[in-house]
Symmetry: C4
């Protein structure tokens, strides 16, 4: 499992989808989850950067888990997701200030993510307060964006949730590039 | 042959020309072709990511091949190409929404790719429906773009089709950067 | 300690936050500091690229130290910092020409760096003349920007000063992307 | 010497300053020069990618040398340069269409390259026809730009000519970013 976290973490970092310590990853294991350590550098995850805790119950290790543990737990409680990727993709975050939702206009994005909702009207709102809404929408859309913050993506496999994150960012960069030229790609939700 | 696929796949991925699972590569071997597996990550191709099948006949492995197998087959049937690279270069895809064709205005681009046609008026059109047109135009131009989707490049060598793809993207980025400043580089087809 | 310098230097270089020889790093060791060599390539630091000298007293090695040694010394004399990272982050430097201070509008940036002052009205001013002002402001803000030049970040750990630098650049890129669309993210200092 | 070419070639490629096969490097050795092979991939130079030939006399290997051999020769004949780096830096090439010369407005750029001339009014002009003018100007300025094509940089060391190329591109990116916001950084030649 470590190598899976390492490959996904490194992929996110080298593509600029997380900063040196931002973002977090988890997978569900029955009643437990394994999640990255608070402030762990996703670009170079070591064994000590993974923390196991319960989905509903705390363990001794719980305080070491990512500060966004409660959002991961809420997703696992309310959806069939087995893996969660939280990242800070830069073009997606930029568009979170200008769009109501993301509608990819490239074929890869449209096929995988026809519509990505954007949550959080105010960047002062705490992420935990949005946990229920995140869990509700992500069950349906696989990926959601939090305004001014970043993305959550879910799947049965960590690699796939990572893939959705990459595709979201690429679709958002395309929309951004067109927007900067005042070009409307003319795509509407499928 | 594996190392050739790996070098090209990694080059495409690290330069951002494909996402974590997008894009596909193939080479022709007599009546057969070797093509990347459906959804294989080009940035880290393993032996199991290569699939051999016939150019006209199916094999047991055919269902594992990239979803764009039929376009590759159509190119090999109708041109002298021995290698095909399909990628999703971001600036090229952005310009596919604003241009009728790509005319590079840098020396490297102009020398290799004087004119790159853009196909597909509507991003809802299935790629397979465009296969004949792709094969017809790519024989003449070496590289073509599909609107809102990506590029196909052909050559006798996989490395060269990869090189054309890189040059296309760099020429498109240059045109984009100038377009964003409202500068017309003034180049017309040679 | 070498491996720490190497990891941070490589991180800065691969993310484009320093050029091939720009930028410099130091840590405090009691009355001494270890700093990168004049013109050393941060992307590939070797043992010979580290220079030890006094914070107040010169040693034989002093002339080999980074040209910005005096700024590092001034910071160590006047603050509780144990590590300093000086980089040339491109979007931050771009915004240094357009803003009076940097106010991140993304959650990661706002949490870590609510306000980043910008010093130096005139890019002809020598950095040493700004050393006292840099030391005064950096004690309070952890990161400061020098107009047309780059960033200084301090912390107890080199990795953390590096992290602040990365976050500054990402927040500046976000503000730049919105500014280029004429979008005001509406965030004000916390 | 091979490792020097490899380090510089890889640095240029990973920073996007050359494409998969563009650009070329050389060093002077008395009456000879060692130059990269025609079409060699700078990102992964092997021993067979280096070609030795005379500065004034051809050898058997001359036809294998980079197509820009004559420009390198002309520089060595007319200046004291011992190393030449030719690259295709994207922002520098973009600005070559909009500026008469590059005047860096960042401190690193201004210190090293106060003024970078741009040659070649018409991108149809053959590079060899510009060789004399390149040699004349590069002796004075260390780096010059060819409109719509790329940069030449010279120094006593290959690493330093590479460094100048990196700094040029970073200064050009900064000027581009400001130009796209309609901001005049107000810097004039020193």
């Amino acid at each position: 499992m470590l190598s899976q976290f390492q490959a996904v973490g490194q992929g996110l970092f080298t593509q600029g989808l997380v900063s040196a310590q931002g973002g977090n990853l988890s997978v569900k294991l029955g009643e437990h989850l394994v999640i990255t350590h608070r402030g762990s550098p996703l670009g170079s995850i070591q064994e000590g950067d993974l923390v196991q805790t319960g989905i509903t119950k705390n363990s001794r290790a719980t305080p070491l888990a990512s500060t966004e543990l409660e959002v991961h737990r809420c997703i696992y409680k309310n959806t069939s997701a087995l893996a969660v990727v939280h990242a800070h993709p830069p073009y997606a975050v930029a568009l979170s200030f200008t769009e109501e939702e993301i509608v990819p206009c490239d074929v890869e994005g449209r096929t995988l993510l026809p519509r990505v909702p954007i949550l959080g009207a105010d960047i002062e709102v705490k992420l935990e307060e949005l946990a229920d809404e995140i869990a509700r929408l992500i069950g349906e859309h696989k990926v959601i964006l939090i305004r001014g913050h970043g993305s959550f993506a879910v799947s049965q496999l960590l690699e796939e949730a990572y893939y959705y994150t990459v595709v979201l960012e690429r679709s958002c960069r395309l929309r951004y590039l067109l927007k900067a030229l005042d070009v409307d790609p003319g795509a509407s939700p499928i």
